[in-house]
Symmetry: C2
Subunit: 280 residues, 2 copies
Amino acid sequence: MKSVFLNGQIVPGESATVPIFDRAFLYGDGLFETLRVSKGQPHLWDEHFTRFSAGAKVLGIALAYDSTGLRKEVYKLLDANGSADAVLRIQLSRGVGPRGYSPREAKSPVLVMSTHPLPTPPPSWKLATTSFRLPPLSPLSAFKTGNKLGHVLAKAEAEEKGADEGLLLTDGDHVGEGTCSNLFWIQLQTVCTPPEQAGILPGIMRAAVLRACEQLEIPVRQTTTRPDTLDQSAGVFMTLSTFGIVEANILDGQELSRSPITTKLREYFETPPKAVGVIL
Amino acid sequence: MKSVFLNGQIVPGESATVPIFDRAFLYGDGLFETLRVSKGQPHLWDEHFTRFSAGAKVLGIALAYDSTGLRKEVYKLLDANGSADAVLRIQLSRGVGPRGYSPREAKSPVLVMSTHPLPTPPPSWKLATTSFRLPPLSPLSAFKTGNKLGHVLAKAEAEEKGADEGLLLTDGDHVGEGTCSNLFWIQLQTVCTPPEQAGILPGIMRAAVLRACEQLEIPVRQTTTRPDTLDQSAGVFMTLSTFGIVEANILDGQELSRSPITTKLREYFETPPKAVGVIL
């Protein structure tokens, strides 16, 4: 097993533990980020760090590092693990406190970082809508919090249906997001995606795709729709930090159209124009 | 520190840890129960175990004990800790699996039990409504899952306002529940409480109070209301396993009426009629 970063130390993964009274273990009282590392560089670091530190502020958990400081620790960990191409996971927990929900006396946060093998990007995904609903927009929607049980069970439901990824709908039965990805579809040459008001996670790759569309002069619309209209669209794709863009070819057993706009966006991220400086 | 139960063993609490890759730590992928123990007996054991094992089934996590088997382990732990009067916490986590939301390969659940000092019952509570909303009714609403960040932050908000307990509203701005308690109010000699459809946790003490009302021939209505109408009611109380019934005397700085029905219910639980056999 690889080494991990645990509160400032690089330690063997096997021996990296937290007390059973840690509040992330008890209540999901923490948050995390998942980044892609390639050629030794964490992609879109500033965006991930900004979201992570904003989340820590909303949760009221002290983050002991600034962006530069934490990035240095990331390099140390990547070095220790020889991980030039990897998935990097960063997690902050409120740590141990007295029994009960009150976070008042819990003052020793736990910061963990781990590296994981970078999976082979899938050529396309089969999607399935699931019975799980996104919670309505809240101050927590904007962050990858430790409260992901709905997403876990949605993923399980999708897998039981033979799909690669599951869609969570909004409380109003409109499309929301994938369990670990944001949803896009193409209609009338326009790239559509649900707005943040739907309670979706404002994904880092989602934002990068919206910026890319602007650069490429592809019209964008933040809107929503019912899941059974997606198979009439010109194409559907998902975005996530690990893989970038993954085209969806099936939704609930229906074949989906494949749009040249998806291909154009994928190519953009594979060979970004120098002027933009987006690396993925 | 007291001893704890960890996967079948009684071990010192100091050394009881879980891997940083445990899914309850990562995603809140687990569930728990909190029980009151007095004179060496866990209160309302059957009800707590029934909810816990039903939750494990919904989450798809194997629970290695039946009610009798787990109760035996509880007695061993209480013995080891000399805890005749205590709070007992039981937690089940899905354990470690590969990175990502899919629970498919995570097959080594973690079962933890710990005892905690029984706090002195408060004479009454100051309540504050909070900005946090209950997620709409879902298959997860019925259980104490590891996803309690909203309740944690609602408790923090209430404490910042100088209150003892915070109210979470529903998405439609009606009253829902307390962070760690169910809400009741009295109107026209009727005991009112939000219905399960509001997305509340169907609390064990809540159910015991509803049964007690039937026994005492007090009319009950499962309904909902806006928080600013509670101060016009004849009385407000909260229920939770640790304390039973706690009367609320203040809501958002407004003094609340105190109803003889609350007193009657408290007395009922202090000296239950033998015919009912409810112990608390």
